[in-house]
């Protein structure tokens, strides 16, 4: 069985975008440029009025409602506001995503601690989100995003509220996940980060792609 790990988006404002399997892509641009809309289109939270969106050769548009869960299982999400459940421990927050996919309890029990160790939160397993720093909360969110082994991770401003050092830690974790073959799409306006990472950069402005560079910086070098 093969899964063609390609993301192809043609959206509202004449966008033609092709993301290959295993790529690490930054989507940058000023506020209101359509970065988050693009991210929401990729997870089928919104539908384009015209055009086509394909993930792994499968159209997101021509899809029955009951098929949506199975597409989303291939995608992990990370949000700026982490979206953790405040009344659940770190363990429960991550286990929650596995339970939602109806994984057996013993499988959950062995996998959650392993993933929490990977993001460096093993000692916080029974803490509640409010007992954690912003960076730690974001790591819980990453753990939740990767727990079901997604093929793609879409991160919408994952370092938006964090100081530069913490942001760099988060990006290192995402890089490590990318090295294992997971495609990563990060929406950000963190200039330093983008310049330092030297990855593919897609710049949006007023809903259009104004630049698409391999190993680019936040601003065009020319």
């Amino acid at each position: 069985m093969t899964y063609d790990e390609e993301v192809k988006v043609t959206a509202l404002s004449d966008i033609n975008l092709h993301i290959k399997r295993g790529e690490f892509v930054f989507i940058v641009g000023p506020s209101g440029a359509g970065k988050s809309t693009l991210a929401r289109l990729m997870i089928r939270e919104e539908l384009p009025t015209k055009g086509q969106i394909m993930i792994g050769g499968k159209s997101l548009l021509r899809m029955r409602n009951r098929e949506i869960p199975y597409v989303r299982r291939k995608i992990g999400f990370i949000f700026q506001d982490s979206r953790l459940l405040m009344d659940r421990t770190v363990y429960e927050n991550v286990a929650f995503a596995m339970e939602a996919l109806e994984m057996p309890r013993n499988h959950v029990k062995s996998r959650v601690p392993a993933v929490l160790e990977m993001v460096g939160l093993k000692d916080k397993i029974d803490s509640y989100p409010h007992q954690l720093s912003g960076g730690q909360q974001q790591r819980v969110c990453i753990a939740r995003a990767v727990i079901n082994d997604p093929l793609i991770i879409i991160a919408d401003e994952p370092t938006g509220n964090l100081d530069p050092d913490t942001s760099w830690e988060i990006m290192s974790i995402l890089s490590a996940i990318n090295k294992r073959g997971t495609t990563i799409v990060t929406v950000t306006h963190d200039r330093e980060m983008v310049d330092r990472m030297k990855r593919r950069v897609i710049a949006l402005e007023k809903g259009r792609i104004v630049r698409d560079e391999e190993r680019g910086g936040y601003h065009s070098e020319t």
Binding site: R66, R72, G76, A100
Partner: protein, 303 residues
């Protein structure tokens, strides 16, 4: 391959659903208790309405068994003619039994009633003043008035008597009680569904973040729905259980008291009928809970 859109989830997920349902009930314990109480009160009223209907039916059937039409024949009718009339009475719709009581037997019955020592026959001067009588029984009380009317029209009939008025009153009372019972059942059932729906709506609202994340990570709609359904069903079932206990205790006491004080009033004590009622109430409570959940999920979860 996993079947998409299936109602069922894996057994292990049922464990998660039950845990989430109980957690949610505990978090909204006052609302859950209020809903259970409403279901309990509703189903108790419903149970008693039903018992009232069953008992009037029982009362009617007991009285029907004793109801009969007395047809008095004219004096000029000969014995042969009288015996021939039997088939005419038997043909009246609804009539199940025709018993001929000749006037000699009627007099004997009368003598017995007055006592063997009475000199009734002497007083009457060996003359039997009683007419020949046919006693008719019908399938049920509803047929009595028409059967009586039909009997009146037959040649040779002097007079027809039955518990006129009493039968009609009994009938209209039964019908009225059944109607009131049905209306009460509908109204009370609606109230219970509405309250459970409100409780589940609050639960859905309290868990909207969880639901959003579940949808995002790819939980199926049924995985998301099950905890809410379970919550509604548990609330309905516990409420129904309270109602059953309440009805059981009260009805037992009522039967005892009636047996002691107004023993002539027949009261239904058939065990299997009562057990059926209890089972029906438990089933209904659970179903009301599921229905209430379904309404709220449809309106507020948009799945």
């Amino acid at each position: 391959m996993k079947k998409e859109g299936a109602i069922t989830v894996k057994p292990s997920s049922m464990g998660y659903a039950l845990r989430d349902a109980l957690r949610s009930m505990w978090r909204n314990k006052f609302m859950s208790l209020a809903s259970m109480a409403t279901v309990a009160i509703s189903l108790t009223i419903l149970g008693f309405a039903w018992l009232l209907v069953v008992n009037t039916q029982y009362l009617t059937s007991v009285m029907e068994a004793e109801l009969e039409i007395n047809v008095y024949l004219q004096e000029k009718v000969t014995r042969e003619q009288a015996l021939e009339l039997k088939s005419a009475f038997a043909q009246i719709p609804g009539v199940t039994e025709t018993v001929f009581v000749p006037k000699e037997e009627g007099l004997k019955n009368l003598e017995e009633r007055f006592g063997a020592e009475s000199d009734l026959v002497k007083v009457l001067g060996d003359e039997n003043p009683l007419p020949d009588v046919y006693r008719l029984k019908t399938t049920d009380a509803a047929h009595v008035p028409q059967a009586a009317a039909a009997a009146t029209g037959i040649q040779g009939v002097e007079d027809v008597r039955y518990g006129k008025g009493m039968v009609e009153k009994l009938l209209s009372l039964t019908q009225w009680l059944q109607m009131v019972g049905v209306i009460a059942i509908l109204a009370v059932g609606l109230a219970a569904v509405f309250l459970i729906a409100t409780t589940i709506r609050i639960t859905v609202f309290a868990r909207r973040r969880e639901v959003a994340i579940m949808k995002l990570v790819g939980a199926t709609d049924w995985y998301i729905r099950w905890p809410f359904f379970l919550e509604g069903m548990i609330i309905g079932f516990i409420g129904a259980l309270c109602a059953v206990v309440c009805i059981y205790l009260f009805y037992n006491q009522l039967v005892k008291n009636i047996a002691l004080t107004i023993s002539f009033l027949p009261i239904m004590t058939d065990r299997s009928v009562l057990i059926n009622l209890y089972q029906a109430l438990l089933l209904m409570g659970t179903a009301l809970g599921a229905l209430g959940s379904a309404i709220s999920l449809h309106r507020f979860l948009k799945i």
